[in-house]
């Protein structure tokens, strides 16, 4: 695979699905209002989760299931705390798939995570 390559393209090797850019051109943004008091730290949180996708993709390639379970467990714990219940759900799925060492499911879930993070937009109370 030529470099640089996208996580989604790499993950398609595990899932057998086409990379999303061939399926949807401009996905609808998901608008999330951060919990009051956390507005300043939510953008940094999302950036860190986007970096996690790359880390988890590398862990999947290395079949490092304990490492994936830890990151999934963390995502489960911190997602909804930052106002992203969807991330908590995906984190839980990732953790369970890592425990089962299910590469296909992990690939699907990482694809779902990358898509979600690509669509989510933080809105401020003032912009509503």
């Amino acid at each position: 695979m030529p470099t640089p390559f996208s996580s989604l393209k790499f993950l398609s090797l595990f899932t057998g699905h086409d990379p999303p850019e061939k399926q949807e051109q401009e996905p609808e943004p998901i608008l999330i209002e951060p919990p009051p008091g956390l507005e300043k730290i939510v953008p940094g949180y999302l950036s860190a989760r986007r970096e996690d996708v790359a880390k988890m993709t590398a862990l999947l390639a290395a079949s490092d299931f304990p490492g994936l379970a830890v990151l999934g467990h963390n995502l489960k714990g911190n997602g909804a705390s930052y106002g992203f219940p969807e991330l908590t759900r995906i984190g839980n799925d990732l953790m369970q798939s890592a425990v089962r060492q299910d590469k296909i499911a992990l690939g699907d879930e990482l694809t779902e995570l990358a898509r979600y993070l690509g669509r989510v937009r933080v809105i401020s109370r003032n912009s509503i």
């Binding site: 008091g37 956390l38 949180y45 489960k76 911190n78 909804a80 705390s81």
Partner: protein
């Protein structure tokens, strides 16, 4: 021991300004306490002596004193005087005395002290340092300098996102946040920093939360520190085990930071004040 008796070269104005000031000498052996008392009495200052083995003033004596002079000694290990929060609660300015290495072992006390006196010292040095403390204190109406932080909380979690969230939530309420990411450093820093509260993740590397909680509760120096368990585990048996080991409360992840803040406030009463804009977090190794 001080190196010599009262040094008469202390300026007369200082000696005069110390007249009728009262000192609580804490943790000094009787002979040293007597020597210091003699030096202070030459300025017509008053000092107190309590327990004949080591001076331990009563609450009334502390209340009546202008300065508390705390000597770091093994005899104080399990006393209130080794607890930064207890010392600060007395509301009196205090001078911390000890060898350099001893003082470095108690950074929380060191930070809270109005001044330090490293051994060996001369009684005159104690007088000069106390004079400086008393002068500063008099300008504030006899009280200690206002605390920069309303409370100190140790955050123990290996997930940086959770540390960031807690720091943002607590820091905006003037709570100082210190962070550790493994069990061993959590225990070490809890003993050294004497926080008001530990927010403790159960699944933390090197020692799990139950082991840390158990160790905190078995140590007389740390058994009064409040602990909130933070866990992704909603298993009732884990929560019950935490309660049995002495946890004051628990919160399951994911959590609302507002709920957590409410629980923190129940355990660590905070003075009503304008929230600070800048949260601060210190990562400890």
């Amino acid at each position: 021991m001080p190196e010599e008796s009262f040094n008469p070269t202390v300026p007369a104005t200082i000696v005069a300004s110390m007249e009728r000031k009262k000192f609580a000498l804490v943790g000094f052996a009787p002979d040293e306490a007597n020597l210091l008392s003699s030096a202070l009495q030459e300025t017509r200052s008053l000092s107190f002596a309590g327990d004949p083995r080591e001076t331990l003033p009563t609450s009334e004596e502390v209340e009546a004193s202008d300065v508390i002079v705390v000597n770091l000694t093994a005899g104080l290990q399990e006393s209130r005087w080794m607890n930064r929060n207890e010392v600060e609660r007395s509301g009196k300015p205090f001078l911390l005395v000890g060898h350099q290495s001893e003082i470095h072992r108690y950074p929380a006390l060191q930070e809270a002290a109005d001044d330090l006196m490293i051994r060996p010292f001369k009684p005159a040095e104690m007088l000069l340092r106390c004079h400086r403390i008393v002068n500063r204190s008099d300008e504030r109406g006899g009280q200690r300098a206002p605390k920069k932080w309303a409370a100190r909380v140790l955050l123990a979690d290996d997930d940086k996102s959770i540390i960031d969230l807690l720091t943002a939530a607590l820091g905006s309420h003037n709570i100082e946040c210190l962070a550790t990411e493994d069990g061993v450093s959590t225990l070490r820093h809890a003993r050294r920093m004497m926080p008001d509260l530990v927010i403790l993740d159960l699944n933390i590397p090197m020692m799990n939360g139950f082991e840390i909680l158990d160790a905190l509760r078995k140590d007389p120096c740390t058994n009064a520190i409040k602990v909130i368990l933070l866990t992704a585990n909603q298993d009732l048996s884990a929560i019950m085990k935490g309660r049995e080991l002495g946890a004051d409360d628990y919160v399951t992840k994911p959590f609302s930071h507002i709920e957590l803040l409410t629980r923190v406030k129940k355990l660590v009463p905070l003075p009503a004040q304008k929230p600070q804009l800048n949260a601060r977090r210190v990562f400890l190794r």
